[in-house]
């Protein structure tokens, strides 16, 4: 789950300046990328505005509404589409009558927070380890390489379940999830960074910097890091949706965020038996999870293409093809 093998091979050496503008210019020409971006911005906005929207609807995420579910029929919500009404825009949860709209919004907070937070941790560790392996001597490289191999070989989900089970319950769960997923999932990043670093090391501008008297780490910071930005950003965009799914899986298995905190994975877990009796209850979290992951994936792919110098050169000489999607 951590190392897609078809990772981008944007060759290093793009001039760092103006890269962002250039990427944006290329992304602008891709409707799918723009749509994904819009969806993601909307999701982030909704998640941030969850308390406001909850107030607007007049509901909160935890209040039970026993009168809205049919107790004699297993607690299925009264009414069609999961009990959707003017008071409860997306219906209520079977058995409890809790408002689904608000719970989905708060669930988005968990998904995005853990998905992005874990990615930041993975990238930070991955870049540090990758740089150290690429710049260090053979001994350092071997040790770090083996460590990375071991991490790749570990069954991440199983380990994450074990780790989340032993940590005291008082520890904030979202932070715990970020750390667990982050510390178990940096292997792919570090491998890419190491490979790039090795390539870059032999390039002229790096050598020039070294000759000009810069130390190893100063070179890394001033010359290598900017050049590594492209592959790392690309990889990050692929990691985010993966991490969102891991969080959902852990919550699905009951070791993610703890009830009553809503999360999409947890909702899916309780919803799975309801897909015939109350399809809305399953479709809402599943649809949101699907949309979010798809948007991140499409955007990540577009960023990768935009950062790809080969793609850029094709553009320049006018041989653009409708390429990889």
């Amino acid at each position: 789950m951590t190392t897609p093998t078809d990772t981008p091979a944007p060759v290093a050496g793009i001039p760092a300046t103006g890269a962002a503008r250039q990427v944006w210019r290329r992304l602008r020409t891709r409707p799918a990328a723009l749509a994904s971006l819009a969806v993601l911005l909307l999701l982030v906005l909704l998640a941030l505005a969850a308390p406001l929207l909850a107030a607007l609807e007049g509901q909160d995420a935890y209040a039970y509404h026993d009168d809205l579910v049919d107790s004699a029929r297993g607690g299925v919500p009264y009414g069609s589409f999961g009990g959707a009404s003017a008071d409860h825009w997306l219906g209520v949860e079977p058995g409890t009558g809790r408002d689904l709209f608000v719970r989905l919004l708060y669930g988005a907070r968990i998904s995005l927070l853990v998905g992005i937070g874990a990615t930041v941790v993975q990238i930070l560790i991955g870049v540090l380890v990758g740089l150290a392996a690429g710049l260090g001597n053979r001994w350092v490289d071997t040790v770090l390489g083996r460590a990375t191999d071991v991490l790749v070989a570990l069954p991440m989900l199983v380990l994450a379940i074990a780790l989340t089970a032993v940590v005291p319950r008082d520890f904030p769960r979202p932070l715990l999830l970020i750390l667990v997923i982050g510390f178990l999932g940096w292997a792919g990043t570090s491998r890419i960074v190491r490979a790039q670093t090795l390539t870059l090391k032999s390039l002229d501008f790096v050598a020039a910097s070294r000759l000009a008297g810069s130390g190893r780490w100063r070179t890394a910071r001033r010359e290598l890091l900017p050049a590594l930005a492209a592959p790392v950003i690309t990889y990050a965009a692929i990691l985010v949706p993966t991490n969102i799914v891991v969080e959902a899986s852990l919550s699905f298995l009951g070791v993610g965020v703890t009830p009553p905190t809503p999360s999409w994975g947890q909702m899916l877990s309780t919803a799975q038996t309801w897909f015939r009796a109350d399809p809305a209850y399953v479709l809402l979290p599943a649809g949101l999870l699907f949309t979010t992951v798809l948007a991140f994936t499409v955007l990540g792919d577009a960023v990768r293409t935009a950062l790809d110098p080969r793609e850029a050169s094709r553009l320049r000489v006018g041989t653009r093809k409708e390429s990889s999607r």
């Binding site: 039970y64 297993g74 607690g75 319950r169 009951g254 070791v255 009830p259 038996t273």
Partner: protein
């Protein structure tokens, strides 16, 4: 009074018993809407002999040896093969909670103080090979259950029989147990070390099934146990995963008033997913039309779906097994040492939310008493801290203020993460939500089932506030109240069920007094009064009693569900 090793052993067994009790309940048999409708399923014609009944189960019939089975009333499938001295009355509803004779001519003749029980065997009893069943075979069957390699059964005999605590079983100690006497091939006498008025209930368990010494193969006996009932085992694959039973020609229906034995063959298939079992029963195609389940309930979502389908709804049997889900307090932990805090929580609980979390009113009934709502248990209604349907947060706040918590308080509730709708997160959050309205902030501590059980069964580590549950090994007050409230049953080095760690001499004495009664009706009334009295201390908050809903295939007839087991009785089912 008992040695520690015996206690811990006994306790371990009881722990298993709780688990199995629910399983056994599940195992006992389906029936249809309780006592009201006698027959369920389609077809109004009288049940006929013949055909093959398929049993679709989640759990395998593991260790199919009468010494090793832990059952309530002899179990469901096991009872087709093993006859016992007494058995449960195979009738619907409350009548099904009675003990009736099986191999014996009556339910037992006690001496004056109920320390000695005498049984006489019926005439014409035979094993599947045609040899007659004697009292020595019954004695040998019981003795086997004391062997360490045949563990698994209920702990009662080890505790009750004189010398039972030290006896090692017939393989190590071939002289046998002196407290079981067989003066002649028809008579068997049990000598107990204390009065036990409910002994006839225990004599329904499979340990009381006869085992011919000549055919005993120790731990391998379970592969082909010798039948005394209407069916014999012809196939037993993968330790009970598939069990095929066919007619035992030497079973004489004239000696057995309880088992109807309509089908010619019974095919028990296990290891199935619960959703698959319910789906197959609902579809009822092919052999599944003549299928039942003895261990799989309908879930809330499945009930919601069935709700609109009348034909399907007519095939759902409803049953009740004596079981209570409750909030347990450990008054050794602050602030639960304060009765007012415990009362405040009792008032604040919203049983409507809790029942909905447990699957709705079709699958759970709100409880204010610790004893299940059945006459057999001695059910005596009380509601010392009336929370109404949805809780009384005002009264709770007032009590908290009196207790010295005018600004509310924060407590931690231990629950399990199992998806069982009894001690699970759904129930815990419903409690949390209701208590929040009374100013009690509840933090949830969800643990995976093993560590959850370890914690709640530990005298040392038990938290002050947790979800728990209890089911009885037979429908009477004894096995329900004694393990939970008898101070002498507080177990410090094993699994403790006396969560409140109550050791009240008056309560202990009353338990001893009731155990002397052989008039079960009189005993039931006393158990009910005791429950009501203990309830005043608010040592627990009863939440709900579960209700079992089970589907049967469309060709299944004569579904009988007793209040003993809450599930249909396989021995009554017909498929023709």
């Amino acid at each position: 009074m008992r040695q520690p090793s015996v206690i811990s052993r006994r306790v371990a067994a009881v722990a298993v018993s709780v688990v199995l009790a629910s399983g056994a309940a599940a195992c006992a048999g389906p029936e249809d809407a309780g006592a009201k409708s006698g027959t369920s399923g389609k077809g109004s014609s009288a049940p006929q002999k013949g055909g093959t009944l398929t049993v679709l189960n989640a759990e395998a019939q593991t260790d199919f040896d009468p010494a090793r089975l832990y059952t309530s009333g002899g179990g469901n499938v096991p009872s087709l093969v093993f006859r016992t001295l007494t058995t449960r009355n195979r009738e619907a509803g409350a009548a099904g909670t009675q003990v009736v004779p099986d191999l014996a001519t009556d339910t037992g003749r006690p001496n004056k103080d109920a320390t000695e029980w005498t049984y006489t065997l019926k005439d014409g009893l035979k094993f599947e090979d045609g040899t007659p069943i004697t009292s020595a075979d019954v004695k040998y069957g019981i003795e086997r259950s004391f062997a360490a390699e045949l563990s698994g059964g209920a702990p009662y005999l080890r505790d009750w029989l004189v010398g039972g605590d030290t006896y090692q079983g017939p393989y190590k100690d071939p002289k046998g147990l002196a407290s079981i006497v067989t003066p002649d091939p028809k008579t068997i006498v049990f000598k107990l070390r204390k009065p036990e008025g409910e002994f006839p209930f225990v004599a329904t368990q499979t340990q009381f099934a006869p085992v011919p010494k000549a055919k005993d193969k120790g731990a391998k006996y379970e592969e082909h146990p010798v039948s005394s009932g209407p069916y014999k085992v012809v196939r037993n694959e993968n330790d009970g995963e598939r069990l095929v039973l066919e007619r035992n020609e030497h079973w004489d229906p004239g000696t057995d008033e309880e088992r109807k034995a309509y089908p010619d063959k019974i095919d028990v298939r296990s290891g199935l997913d619960e959703a698959v079992i319910n789906q197959r029963l609902a579809t009822s195609s092919g052999a599944d039309a003549a299928a039942v389940t003895t261990d799989t309930n309908l879930g809330p979502a499945e009930l919601a779906q069935i709700g609109s389908d009348k034909a399907l709804a007519a095939r759902v049997g409803t049953g009740r097994f004596g079981f209570t889900n409750y909030i347990a307090f450990n008054p050794k932990v602050k602030p639960f040492d304060n009765p007012k805090v415990r009362q405040a929580i009792s008032y604040a609980v919203n049983r409507t939310s809790v029942v909905n979390a447990a699957g709705g009113s079709a699958l759970a009934e709100p409880a204010t008493t610790f004893l299940p709502e059945q006459e057999a248990f001695g059910f005596t209604p009380y509601d010392h801290f009336p929370a109404g349907k949805t809780g009384n947060p005002e009264k709770a706040k007032q009590l908290l203020e009196e207790a010295g918590f005018p600004n509310g308080l924060t407590v931690t509730l231990l629950h399990s993460t199992a998806q069982n709708r009894t001690t699970s997160p759904e129930i815990a959050t419903a409690v949390q939500e209701a208590l929040g309205k009374a100013g009690i902030t509840v933090k949830l501590d969800g643990q995976e089932p093993n560590s959850f059980n370890e914690k709640r069964w530990s005298v040392k580590d038990a938290p002050g506030f947790f979800l728990s549950r209890w089911g009885a090994d037979w429908p009477a007050g004894g096995p329900f109240l004694a393990p939970i409230f008898d101070g002498r049953q507080i177990v410090t080095n094993g699994s403790n069920y006396n969560h409140a760690q109550l050791n009240d001499p008056a309560v202990n004495k009353e338990i001893d007094e009731i155990n002397k009664l052989t008039d079960l009706k009189a005993a039931a009334a006393r158990w009910g009064a005791l429950d009501k009295k203990i309830g005043e201390q608010a040592l627990d908050v009863p939440l709900f009693h579960p209700v079992y809903k089970r589907l049967v295939g469309k060709d299944v007839k004569n579904v009988v569900i007793s209040d003993w087991t809450g599930v249909l009785d396989v021995s009554q089912v017909a498929v023709k």
